[in-house]
């Protein structure tokens, strides 16, 4: 659980762990794998949901999930996709393009991608952003399911929800944690 004011560097830290961003100094390991050298291996078991969420506006919800699956080298049967969409309450708009979605719906779709394959680490930036009460409950359930399956979940948020309240450890980020500072080893699972 990462907390901190806006601009404290939470997103930057998540992105470094996700191997999307190269730290300008220092090193880190994820589950024993080096961020600098084993990026491929880390990404094989890690998923990152950015604050914006990775969805294509011109594809349908179902197509988005199917693409995400194929991109990860998994096959996603129609049944599996429908199941996932039901989990996040989007089954009824499976065949509508994301362009017609509200921000909250887009967010839910992005989060649904976390259940496409088994993960060692899930990084979620602002999990509750743009969500109503029902959505917040959804996220909490999602995180719970992930943890049950053995996934380590790191949430970066300035909001409070059930999942953040039950976090096993919390780290606060302030201005001080810039990309320049040496990083210590991150949570191992």
């Amino acid at each position: 659980m990462l907390v901190g004011a806006n601009g404290a560097g939470k997103t930057t830290l998540l992105r470094i762990i996700a191997t999307l961003l190269r730290p300008s100094s220092g090193e880190g390991t994820v589950d024993g794998l080096s961020i600098k050298d084993d990026g491929d291996l880390i990404r094989a078991r890690t998923a990152y949901v950015s604050a914006r969420g990775f969805v294509y506006d011109d594809l349908t919800a179902a197509e988005n999930l199917r693409f995400a699956a194929r991109l990860a080298g998994e096959s996603a049967s129609d049944g599996h996709v429908t199941e996932l969409l039901t989990t996040v309450g989007l089954a009824h708009v499976a065949d509508q393009t994301v362009r017609t979605f509200s921000t909250g719906m887009r967010r839910r779709l992005a989060l649904a991608g976390l259940r496409l394959r088994p993960l060692g680490l899930a990084l979620i930036d602002e999990p509750y952003a743009a969500l109503d009460d029902e959505g917040i409950t959804l996220v909490d359930r999602l995180v719970e399911d992930l943890v049950t399956d053995g996934t380590t979940v790191i949430l970066a948020s300035h909001q409070s929800g059930e999942a953040t309240r039950r976090a096993t450890s919390t780290m606060r980020l302030d201005d001080g944690l810039l990309v320049d500072t040496a990083l210590s080893a991150t949570e191992a699972s």
Binding site: L20, L21, R43, S50, F54, Y56, D58, A68, L71, G73
Partner: protein, 225 residues
């Protein structure tokens, strides 16, 4: 995590988006036709002259149109939050390059299927007897353009003034394949005396191979952050 599978997924995704939005292809078509028209007007109705330079005009039209479509290659990615999602996927990030490359090649080839006959009509040149060699040259030239173009488009994605940086970097890189494609095309249209066109075809092939390897290899460095 198979590379071909992931590349195919990206190509298919871009194809789906293109079919649904019809954003690129139609405007490319219109633009390239306009370019050919403007050339004809600028040069004048001197048919023998137009016939002699038809290959040059055709390929310049393709390059200009290609430049436009290149800047859109990553546009759908930017709307979806940058290349992050693609970079986050497990496996070699080069799949992104290959997928975008394939997409660009298909788009341009589709354009050329219409553009070549259009040029034949406007410039009164005979394409059909040379269809096969012309098709081969078109593929090689389009590959050359897309190989370098897709790469530089990714490189300049986050640069300021990228609309001018992309042509600035790409055009010197395109001089050899442009010379190759134009000369090969013109020679083929003229009946390929002394088999001269072969020299240019070999240049195209060499360029394609060298830069396919170089760009594919360097791609992860270009999109790293």
């Amino acid at each position: 995590m198979s590379m071909p599978g992931r590349v195919a997924a990206i190509v298919w995704k871009d194809l789906l988006i293109e079919i649904r939005t019809k954003a690129s292809f139609h405007s490319m078509l219109a633009f390239s036709a306009l370019v050919l028209f403007v050339f004809s007007f600028a040069i004048g109705p001197d048919t023998p002259l137009l016939q002699r330079i038809a290959a040059g005009l055709l390929w310049v039209a393709i390059v200009f149109t290609g430049l436009l479509s290149l800047s859109r290659t990553y546009q759908s990615e930017e709307a979806a939050g940058g290349l992050e999602g693609l970079r986050m996927s497990p496996g070699d990030p080069r799949a992104i390059y290959l997928g975008k490359l394939a997409g660009n090649v298909l788009l341009l080839l589709g354009l050329e299927v219409v553009l070549f006959p259009a040029a034949a009509v406007l410039f009164q040149i005979e394409l059909w007897p040379h269809a096969l060699p012309l098709a081969g040259i078109a593929v090689l030239g389009t590959l050359a353009f897309s190989i370098s173009g897709t790469f530089y488009a990714a490189l300049t994605l986050h640069l300021r003034a990228r609309e001018i940086m992309l042509p600035l970097l790409l055009i010197p890189a395109l001089v050899p394949p442009l010379l190759g494609a134009v000369n090969a095309t013109q020679l083929v249209l003229d009946g390929n005396p002394f088999g001269e066109a072969d020299l240019w075809v070999r240049l195209l092939i060499a360029y394609d191979v060298v830069f396919f390897v170089a760009c594919t290899w360097l791609f992860p460095l270009a999109v790293e952050e």
